[in-house]
Amino acid sequence: MYIRKERIDRGVKARTEDLFALASGWDLLYLLAPRLLPILVLLLLTVTVGPYWQKVLISTAVFALLAISWDFLVAAGMVSLGQALFFGMGAYLTGILNHYFHWPIWLTIPVSTVLGGALCTFILLPVLRLRGIYFSMITLVLPLMLVRIIEATKIFGGTEGISGLASYPGRWLELYLGLAAAWAALFAFRRLLNADYGLILKGISDNDRSVMSAGINIYWYKAQALFLAGSVGAFAGAFMTHSYMFVGMPVFALDYSILPIAAAVVGGMGTMAGPLLGAFILVPLSEVLRGLGGLRIVIYALSLTVFIVALPEGLFHYIQRKYQQFERKVKVDYE
């Protein structure tokens, strides 16, 4: 006699296409709670914490956006090591539009979002044919190159950057805009990946030749994915620039490339929600550790390692599984 643990799906998962078969209010709650609860908790947090932690929340939302955009690119088979490229592109565009052309904030952000995404896609077009490490290397190098160009040619304020940019009409608007953007990106990308369009992108990542065999131009779809992810990254940059009222060379810093990846790995890749969760753990953690001086990086790195070794699937996958399935012991008839 041997006892084995059996995993069983909770009933509500039964569905056809987009229709859920809901039997009761509990079923409805089962579906809504994981989507609404984080939002409610967050809203509660925004009104209870002070201005300093509100700023932290804003920068968390920015990193969450970058992490979601990274995760989306990975789903389409492109491992970017240069989210800073998207971020910096959006940041500089909005700075230029605001400083030199005196465009108002409600115009600079949307324009630099779209234009930033388009520019990044255009720059990366030649690399789309490269797979794996080659794409990653180019994305890693490009932001570092752009910094040096700005430094050498002294354009857009050179090493000084551009300061005195327009700020938001109020700090509440700023805070809620950032959080709303993160959640909008989360739900939109999750929806997109679950649709047939998302399946094509996942297919390209899994086996691009099979996707080609279906008569699909994979480079066109990769370019689209790049544009979407680039736009989200550019939005994060534009949003942050108006928050700081300054744009300078640090926007191309490695932090904006590495931290989103760490967030995605801690939270769980491929879910969009995982990277968001990861950002909401790592960014505040990094702030809490700020008082420790040099030890900060050590503890930060250690906790990151522990996370990845102990839970390589990522926190979100783990929570999701525990939520969607329960376990029971069954006997195996075995001599």
């Binding site: 084995r4 059996e6 995993r7 996958h317 599984r321 075995y334």
Partner: protein, 249 residues
């Protein structure tokens, strides 16, 4: 008794892939496990070779399917149920996985050298010569990238790579998959030669019963993870159920 598999039971999460499966292989025999798709042949081969432990660990780590493995595998009266895959290879169990998993970016000779890395140079040289004698097609392409070989040639290379490790018990998982009847005949002749020349014991899993049954010593029929029949070559070929299920008449 070279190999004894006792009451194997393997669950992929809640699905039962092997159900109380037992088999025995004597030294020097060619034994076949015949079964259709999803009967549990590959799971059986992976369990004997220990590869299933690796699958189990990887799945557990990424939070995927949980594998439950019960039962025992004995080699030469030694219980190797908990031995790791590489330890089992050292004891002489070498698995030739299905769908010819070669190293596509390396050439034929390099593939064989990778497989024989832990063997002495002289041994490897001898076996490589033997493999090239066995499969003249491979010898003609020895400096060609393995990824550009035909399916049949890749299958030959996979068997060659297993031979370079110098197995005592060679496990062949669906060696005839995707091969033309003419190529199947060639390959089976080569398998017979391998037994004759090296004395290695061979356990084949296969769904093509018609070409396999005449050349084996004994066979087992597996369905839905369960043992349904066993016997020697003649008994199985004359069994009406085997004939109707696998000979298509």
């Amino acid at each position: 008794m070279l190999l004894q598999v006792k009451h194997l039971m393997v669950f992929y999460e809640n699905a039962l892939a092997l159900n109380d499966f037992s088999l025995e292989v004597q030294a020097g025999e060619i034994v076949a496990v015949i079964g259709s798709n999803s009967a549990g042949k590959t799971t059986l081969m992976n369990t004997i070779s220990g590869l299933i432990q690796d699958i189990q660990i990887k799945e557990k780590r990424k939070g995927g399917e949980r594998l439950t493995i019960l039962g025992e595998v004995w080699l030469n009266r030694e219980d190797i149920s908990s031995a790791r895959p590489e330890q089992r290879v050292q004891k002489g169990i070498v698995l030739c996985r299905e769908r010819h998993p070669i190293f596509p970016e390396s050439d034929v000779l390099e593939n064989l050298h990778i497989a024989g890395y832990l063997r002495r140079r002289q041994e490897v040289r001898e076996t490589v010569d033997f493999v090239f004698g066995l499969f003249p097609n491979l010898a003609g392409h020895k400096n060609q990238k393995a990824g550009f070989l035909s399916g049949g040639e890749q299958q030959m290379l996979t068997i060659g790579m297993a031979l370079v490790v110098r197995p005592v018990l060679l496990l062949l998982d669906e060696p005839l998959l995707g091969l033309s009847p003419a190529m199947q005949t060639k390959l089976l002749a080569a398998i017979k030669t391998i037994r004759r020349e090296t004395g290695v014991t061979i356990l084949i899993s296969e769904q093509f019963a018609r070409p396999i049954l005449p050349m084996i010593d004994r066979g087992y029929v597996i369905e839905n993870g369960m043992l349904t029949m066993s016997g020697n070559s003649k008994e199985l070929m004359e069994n009406p159920e085997v004939v109707s299920a696998y000979f298509g008449v």
